[in-house]
Symmetry: C2
Subunit: 388 residues, 2 copies
Amino acid sequence: MLGNFTYCNPTKLYFGNDALKGLKEELPKYGKNVLLVYGGGSIKKNGIYDDIVKILKDCGKEIFEDGGVMPNPTVEKLYEGVERAKKGNVDLILAVGGGSVCDYAKAVSVSVFCNEDPWDKYYLRMEDVDNKIIPVGCVLTMVGTGSEMNGGSVITNHEQKLKIGHVFGDNVMPKFAVLNPEYTFTLPEKQMVAGFFDIMSHILEQYFSGEDDNTSDYVMEGLLKSLIHSARIAVKNPKDYEARSNIMWTATWALNTFVAKGKTTDWEVHMIGQAIGAHTDATHGMTLAAVSIPYYKFIMPYGLQKFKRYAVNVWNVNPENKTDEETALEGLKEMEKFMREIGLVMNIKDLGVTENMLEGVADSTLIMEGGYKVLTHDDVVEILKASM
Amino acid sequence: MLGNFTYCNPTKLYFGNDALKGLKEELPKYGKNVLLVYGGGSIKKNGIYDDIVKILKDCGKEIFEDGGVMPNPTVEKLYEGVERAKKGNVDLILAVGGGSVCDYAKAVSVSVFCNEDPWDKYYLRMEDVDNKIIPVGCVLTMVGTGSEMNGGSVITNHEQKLKIGHVFGDNVMPKFAVLNPEYTFTLPEKQMVAGFFDIMSHILEQYFSGEDDNTSDYVMEGLLKSLIHSARIAVKNPKDYEARSNIMWTATWALNTFVAKGKTTDWEVHMIGQAIGAHTDATHGMTLAAVSIPYYKFIMPYGLQKFKRYAVNVWNVNPENKTDEETALEGLKEMEKFMREIGLVMNIKDLGVTENMLEGVADSTLIMEGGYKVLTHDDVVEILKASM
């Protein structure tokens, strides 16, 4: 049943191969000083950096650079970004990159005027923002996290072996986002498919929760079918604009709060994946891929009807003359086949996890309560073992 | 292929059986004078009117009444509403009702400060708004049009035999909308199912256009399946909260601009339906229902693959050992069966159309260019004849 909720998503999106013109429209709305946030520097090679700097200068902006945001942005980097933003007295944070860069930009956005340690306040204690927020805009160069149209922000603390996400409210969501599918063409294949699975996992984490028959269950089945269809095309031809643009659009809607409205959600795969990330620094989407099939096999008996529905509606499994369990398992088998086909990492050993790390990873795994089974510490260890 | 687009939908939604609390949250954001817009007075019988007036008074608002908005709001009523809004110097227009009331509220919103005839400017000449807009909020008591989260506004001019919709930009969209599924429980069955078909038609008008395989095609199939599922439950038990809430949520997403982004759309069924409405004043959803099957049979040869996809993905037609045409037709047959099952009016005679009106209705029908076939005047007459 649809529970009560509020919905508001004010982010303005500019989508298409001419989307950068949106940046020109947006910049005049903000003050002079812009913190330009980006990652390892690939945008300097492919020309996106130069295009953006030109637009910023044409609009009379003063640029304060903040490059080098790592794939799993750390709390130390966050502290550094806060100092840069303070020094520049910045009016806008412009994130150019993928989900990590956008997540980091939002973390800086809420932390500059925070009068205590933002890691403690926002990530450990999950408190609401009660200080001034610096507006964020995004230019996306990588697809998956949906960070361009949500309030989510994941930060990693290697010392504490914790990778934690905070979902902030609509006041922290990016004010605008530029989505040009062509910007994702040059991404290495491993990163590309990791992003595809991140999208898939976002949908599944929201789908596999509750026994209900909500509108969003049907919508999520549609999003999954579109993603599977387009991912198969994109791995063969990463420059297929149609496939990449549909995947980009699917990624946004997979995690911009719409499909979660009025229903419970799981997010345990992300919790296990993030724990692996905290211990290994492995690519986010791959950590999710490596544990998903073992996780879903483990919880399947507790939500059998939804897994059967998933098999039939998403993977076209014919349920005739099969037990519900056989149908459901066949769906997971089809999913696994698809995952191998697009080249995902299917075990955590390949991500650098060793036997003697399993207990530690389980210790770092936050336990969620919205899924079909609330895991125990031993359950997590069992799933990790099955993922080796 | 996904075309280039911008997306922004800032409407804040309060959804659920406690949604009216959202009105209390929103009212302090606006000035003292509120134009309270509603329809035939059913809200005075079911208590919604009293609840709202109490909240308005508790929030210190001065109420200016504007009741009696008819199901197809007329241009004369619009002129009257403009005068009332001017007299009250209103700061907010609060629409309490269904799509007609919301559409009308938006029409008043853009017309109060318009220095020429708003019918000419906005409906005949389809010009953009360049004057001050009075903000609109909605409390929905009827489901179908999606008017609560879009810029659409349809006004009827009986003298000119024209019923025309203008889709205004996101600055005219309601600032907030209160969506309580229980408010729709007392609606007469005829109105309820007409609303269901209005939703269905909105999705189909956007689905049956373009040969593409966009994310939104998959999402629309999900929305359709959810709607069909819940509509069957709701006609048996109109007070089934789960069904009514899912239908309410589907209606919003069927026409809040999301699924149309990056693709072409048709809207010819609405054009024919609105022409019938201009001549007969028949219920909007019923005018769409009565012409849909003949229309889709007529255009099917021009978009056969999409009709085949519709049959398979929405109506579970098995395409094996069938020609594409047979599969597609079976889909339309299933659709017709469903429409009869929920009690829709299936011919225009029952809506008051007579043989000698057909030419006039065709004359009043605007011709759209996004569908699989651009109709001629004679095509419209042929479809109308097949709908008798």
